[in-house]
């Protein structure tokens, strides 16, 4: 039951249809809105499975279906669908995780007045994301990319009555826009160089060897496209929007800012991987490594449960970029898939906690939730261990190992490897801190004390995601690298390397142990008590808690520069241009006065006299119109007779 490439468009079209239906459905009909959205996505999921079956039949093949969109100049602008294992796997991931998050949302937003709009936006997002995945054209991908950004903006600002949410939405939109500008430039440059934006086009696509050879490797194009990925995937230095985006509802955070949208950047880089030159790859690897470490560091000092997870996402995305940078995009996708599952799991678990604790997100106010929320605790623990990379049974271990091995095998530099290893320790540490603060000890507020387990619509998705978070890792172990070989049959997978594996196991144990030693053994008793780390190294902790002051830095540099420019432009407008305009208006006024004098005095007299003469003449003519219809008819009759005689006498006959 495969799905051939011609019908691939059905996958994004169904959620789009659901969004359309949702937009015109009556607001109070909640079942209709959520039902259509969930049904559409479920159907898309089934179709994606079909697409995967088709793709697996011939993994090395890039099946395409291209068509002309509109004529432009000499040629047509062409768009198309692309079906290969990468697309199919990503589609399955997006639809599966999305479906679970949709179901979770029906519980999470049960009491929200704008329930219908939420599902409409979610469907729109899913449609755009799936469109991005199936695109066989950088242009189509870019269109969907921007649609994804729009949906993200709408969803982050879903609670727009909160000023923080509105500001975060704007920030996310504008920050990613900076990266998108780079992507657009890269796209235009690529089109200029190759005359095509199709990825695969029977030998003429930009990713195919002949065109790549003709292009001869352009670092600039690769880096410009990478700019887009930096913005979307929250890489250093454009990562600042991602933590703020946590102002949106938690399912949104799970769907967009953990599992799918932020992965779009990684997906893009994996898609255009053949375009990237070694120089570009080096930049990507270093950026990724820095992001990974920085995200982990900041996460250590955060107190908001969702922000910790957000910075953890930044860090993990850094890992993925690192993998791409070191040339192993298959492992990046492997980590992307596993990460999508366990991060969605973690976010939904956090959502479950937040929902149960009456929207209390501060980990210092929580605590002791292990007892009342058993399912949430168990699944959250699985997610946490997957993220930390607890060996052998959790998926995160295998995908992270794969990345570290790839970094080890990189012949340019070992720096990314070391940065990555440092981040491993920190990851295990901050996740342990999170677990200990939230689930262990005693409840430190009324909200946490009254927390109850959530209904099945919220816990069942957690369970399903937990299963995936465990099981997905076995698709890409060094001993059976099915996933890597499916994605790229030529991929070389480091087997062996037990030494490195041992090192990373030790590092994980170190992180877990130190975290438990500091936070778990002697749990916090009062919510106002200072953090143990803050006591030991106050200045460092404060610096990290302030997110390494990136926002302040940007405000002080770019913000101020912008402000100065604006002031200058204002002054220019106010004094220089305005003065000139005022001068000319005065001139015009003067001319008008002169004109009027001439007109009234000299010209009017002449015209008046002429008009009077005309009127008198006309009056004498108008007497001829007597209003006597008989008279007119009589005239016509006599006129006819006279005309006949005139013709006769004129000798016409």
């Amino acid at each position: 039951m495969g799905l051939s490439v011609q019908f691939l468009w059905l996958i994004p079209a169904l959620p789009l249809l659901a969004a359309g239906i949702g937009s015109i459905a009556p607001s109070r009909d909640r079942t209709l809105a959520s039902g259509t959205a969930i049904a559409a996505l479920a159907l898309s999921f089934l179709l994606s499975c079909g697409a995967l079956l088709t793709a697996l039949a011939n993994p090395a093949d890039h099946a395409t279906h291209n068509f002309a969109w509109f004529e432009l100049g000499h040629g047509a602008v062409r768009l198309g669908w692309l079906l290969d294992p990468l697309t199919a796997l990503m589609c399955i991931m997006v639809t599966f995780v999305g479906l679970l998050i949709f179901i979770f949302s029906t519980g999470y937003l049960r009491a929200d007045a704008r329930f219908k709009q939420f599902f409409c936006f979610l469907s729109l997002f899913a449609a755009a994301m799936l469109g991005l995945l199936i695109a066989n054209s950088l242009l189509l991908l870019f269109i969907c990319w921007e649609l994804v950004g729009l949906a993200s903006y709408l969803l982050i600002g879903f609670w727009f009555h909160k000023p923080a949410a509105a500001a975060a939405a704007k920030k996310a939109f504008i920050t990613t826009r900076i990266g998108d500008l780079g992507l657009l430039l890269g796209m235009v440059w690529l089109y200029d160089s190759t005359g095509s934006l199709l990825f695969y086009d029977g030998g003429n696509g930009v990713l195919e060897p002949s065109v790549l050879a003709a292009l001869g490797g352009s670092t600039a194009i690769g880096l410009l496209i990478f700019c887009g990925a930096v913005g979307k995937s929250g890489q250093f230095p454009l990562h600042v929007w991602l933590p703020d985006a946590m102002e949106g509802p938690t399912p949104v955070s799970a769907l967009i800012h953990a599992a799918t949208m932020v992965a779009a950047g990684v997906f893009l880089m994996a898609r255009v991987f053949p375009l990237l030159t070694p120089d570009a790859l080096t930049v990507i690897a270093l950026t990724g490594a820095i992001t990974a470490l920085m995200g982990a560091l900041i996460a250590v000092a955060q107190n908001d449960i969702k922000r910790i997870l957000a910075f953890s996402t930044v860090s993990q995305l850094g890992y993925m970029m690192l993998a791409i940078g070191v040339g192993s995009w298959t492992t990046a996708i492997f980590h992307l898939l596993t990460h999508a599952c366990f991060k969605a799991l973690l976010f939904l678990g956090a959502g479950s906690v937040i929902h149960a604790a009456h929207h209390e997100q501060d980990i210092r106010q929580l605590g002791g939730l292990r007892g009342p929320m058993k399912t949430t605790f168990a699944t959250f623990a699985i997610g946490m261990m997957a993220l930390s990379g607890v060996p052998f049974i959790f998926s995160g271990f295998w995908s992270k190992e794969a990345i570290l091995h790839a970094a080890h095998a990189w012949d340019v530099s070992q720096l990314p490897l070391y940065l990555g290893l440092a981040a491993v320790v920190l990851t295990a540490f901050y996740m342990t801190r999170l677990m200990a603060e939230v689930f262990f000890g005693a409840a430190r507020s009324d909200a946490a004390g009254h927390a109850q387990e959530n209904p099945p619509t919220m816990t069942v998705p957690l369970g399903l995601l937990a299963v995936c978070a465990v099981g997905l890792g076995f698709l890409g172990t060094p001993y059976w690298p099915w996933l890597q070989h499916t994605l790229d049959p030529l991929a070389h997978v480091e087997a062996g390397g037990y030494g490195l594996m041992m090192v990373s196991i030790v590092l994980v144990a170190l992180g877990l142990g130190s975290g438990w030693a500091i936070y778990g053994r002697k749990s916090r008793v009062k919510s106002s008590a200072a953090d143990p780390l803050a006591v030991r190294a106050p200045s460092v902790f404060a610096f990290l808690a302030a997110r390494m002051k990136f926002d302040e830095l940007y405000a002080a540099t770019f913000g101020r520069l912008n402000h100065g420019l604006a002031v200058f432009a204002d002054a220019l407008d106010r004094h220089l241009w305005d003065g000139a305009v005022r001068f000319f208006s005065r001139l015009g006024e003067f001319a008008g006065v002169v004109n009027r004098e001439t007109d009234e005095g000299a010209l009017n007299g002449g015209f008046d006299a002429t008009s009077e003469g005309l009127r008198k003449r006309a009056h004498s003519y108008s007497r001829a119109q007597t209003g006597d219809a008989h008279g007119y008819l009589l005239m016509v009759a006599f006129g006819f007779v006279v005309l006949v005689f005139a013709v006769l006498l004129g000798g016409a006959r």
């Binding site: 108008s622 209003g627 006597d628 219809a629 008819l633």
Partner: protein, 105 residues
């Protein structure tokens, strides 16, 4: 006097036309004037048929088509004309045509 049928027809239509003309000129009642004009129109139609019947035919049904369209136009003319008559009546309480000179120059 030996007249061709066509000439008879044309004489018939000429006479009808003149009766309409005299009626339209001599009567002061607007409705009758309109009816006189209708008669003149009918006389013209008569000519079309006469020439279609006896003239050199280039196309089989041209004269007939003309008359059909003329009848349709006459229907429209009658409807609008009589509506105007009613409006005139409403304004001047009679329908004497020679009194309807309010718009003269």
């Amino acid at each position: 006097m030996n007249l061709a049928p066509l000439q008879l027809c044309l004489l018939f239509s000429s006479a009808l036309f003149c009766i309409g003309l005299i009626g339209a000129l001599s009567r002061s009642n607007t409705i009758l004037v309109l009816l006189g004009i209708e008669l003149m129109l009918n006389a013209a139609n008569l000519n079309f048929i006469a020439f279609w019947r006896y003239g050199a035919n280039s196309e089989p049904a041209t004269g007939v088509m003309f008359v059909i369209f003329a009848i349709a136009v006459a229907a429209a003319e009658a409807a609008v004309g009589l509506a105007l008559v009613i409006t005139i009546y409403r304004h001047q309480k009679n329908i004497r045509l020679q009194d309807a000179t309010r718009l003269k120059g």
